[in-house]
């Protein structure tokens, strides 16, 4: 027995070849790995190739498509396979399907991948916890400064968003938007969603800096880019002005 024969004999143990036509009907199978009942097995109905009829039909002659590390069941046998499908006959649209069973090899990769993914999930968790602590510390520091009288409380608004207490600088705010039982607080860098009412937010804001232009919007006046008949432009957004708010807005702007 020569080397080629020994190699081929070993390779045959883990490789199966199936020949099928354009309808997915199996014409031939060497059944090395899996016993295929050719009379009752269709590649496009019973395997992962479902839906790929067009893609395979469009393959140029002798061109192949491969799928690696596919964990699937073929005629009752589940393993991790590599597949290689080649168009072997252009006129009759026949394909060869080479199946490699790499179940054992992929099990080793699984252990490494599992370890890597778990480590990454833990790293992200630690990162989030650190960030949360940092933000909470900053909010507490600011509140402390305000209580000490070192800062004006009117310069910040405290909102609860994502289970975090966030102290937002009023100068940063573009506008508030009603969102059901919540309020969206829009800033140039981030949008916060907090449980509150427009009425409650409106009364807590400095009158000279903010104005309610609509049932659903309170804007920061110095962020206005343009005013049109019934809309204002802030940042890259166009917000509607409610008819009943229009006159007061014009008067307010005239006072600025």
């Amino acid at each position: 027995m020569d080397l080629a024969e020994i190699r081929n004999r070993e390779a045959r143990k883990s490789i199966q070849v199936i020949l099928f036509d354009e309808t997915g009907a199996v014409l031939e199978s060497d059944d090395t790995l899996i016993k295929i009942d050719t009379s009752n097995f269709n590649v496009y109905r019973d395997t992962m190739f479902c839906g790929m009829e067009t893609m395979l039909a469009d393959l140029p002659y002798q061109e192949s498509i491969s799928f690696d590390c596919v964990n699937t069941d073929i005629a009752g046998k589940t393993s991790h396979y590599d597949f290689l499908v080649t168009k072997v006959d252009e006129e009759t649209n026949r394909f060869s399907w080479v199946i490699h069973d790499y179940g054992k090899q992929y099990n080793k990769i699984f252990e490494l991948q599992q370890e890597r993914n778990l480590a990454e999930i833990k790293a992200h968790k630690a990162e989030r916890a650190t960030l949360k602590l940092k933000e909470e510390k900053e909010a507490i520091d600011r509140l402390f400064q305000e209580l000490q009288g070192n800062s004006s409380s009117s310069q910040y608004i405290l909102v609860k968003s994502d289970n975090l207490l966030v102290n937002i600088d009023l100068n940063e705010i573009l506008y508030f938007e009603a969102y059901g039982d919540y309020i969206k607080v829009h800033t140039p860098s981030k949008m916060y969603v907090t449980y509150n009412t427009m009425k409650s937010v409106e009364v807590s804001l400095p009158e000279k800096q903010f104005f309610r232009i609509h049932r659903s919007y309170i804007i920061r006046l110095d962020k206005i880019k343009n005013i049109e008949q019934l809309s204002v432009e802030i940042s890259d957004k166009t917000l509607p002005i409610g008819k009943s708010y229009k006159a007061e807005l014009v008067e307010k702007i005239g006072q600025l």
Binding site: Y44, R45, M48, C50, G51, M52, E53, T54, M55, I65, F67, D68, C69, V70, N71, T72, D73, H80, Y106, I109, F110, Q113, Q114, N117, L118, E120, I121, H124, K125, R128, S161, D162, N163, Y179, G180, D181, Y182, K184, M191, V193, T194, Y195
Partner: protein
């Protein structure tokens, strides 16, 4: 004649794609995290408006971005389930760009976004998250089974 439809599940690793499939196909759940390598294919026959539909479920190994998913996995797909973990921000931080990336590959193919592990967060947080993401995702829990069957069947109906 049997109708066969291919559904591809994508999303970060550890978001519960395989657990959703396991819950939907086998009505089982395990807390143990077992990573998927390559792609795992399962199938389930469901009744959609009186027709028997065989769903081929392609559970693709989680990646940190949709750009890393081999494009050939999407070939012939009839529907997409994009899964994220509502308790891990990094799994939805880039959701809009991921969905855009997928839509480039699969124009016109129905896609449903699932916010999984909703049993780990409060209802209030889910409402806030929907607002922040400006996205109407379906909150699911493979652990409790909440909205799992409904989400798969909803997508199946969208496809048919």
């Amino acid at each position: 004649m049997e109708i066969v439809k291919k559904i591809v599940l994508v999303g970060h690793f550890g978001v519960g794609k395989s657990s959703l499939v396991k819950r939907f196909v086998h009505q089982k759940f395990s807390d143990q995290y077992l990573t998927t390598i390559g792609v795992k294919i399962d199938k389930k026959v469901v009744d959609v408006s009186g027709s028997q539909v065989k769903l081929m479920l392609w559970d693709i190994a989680g990646e940190s971005t949709a750009m890393k998913i081999p494009k050939k996995y999407f070939a012939g797909a009839h529907g997409i389930l994009y899964v994220f973990d509502v308790s891990r921000e990094e799994t939805y931080a880039n959701i809009q760009s991921d969905l855009f990336e997928i839509s480039k590959e699969l124009n016109e193919v129905p896609a449903v976004v699932l916010g999984n592990k909703c049993d780990l967060v409060e209802e209030e947080f889910l409402t806030q998250l929907k607002g922040e993401l400006s996205l109407d995702f379906k909150p699911t829990s493979a652990k409790t089974g909440d909205f799992v069957e409904e989400s798969f069947l909803y997508l199946a109906q969208e496809i048919i």
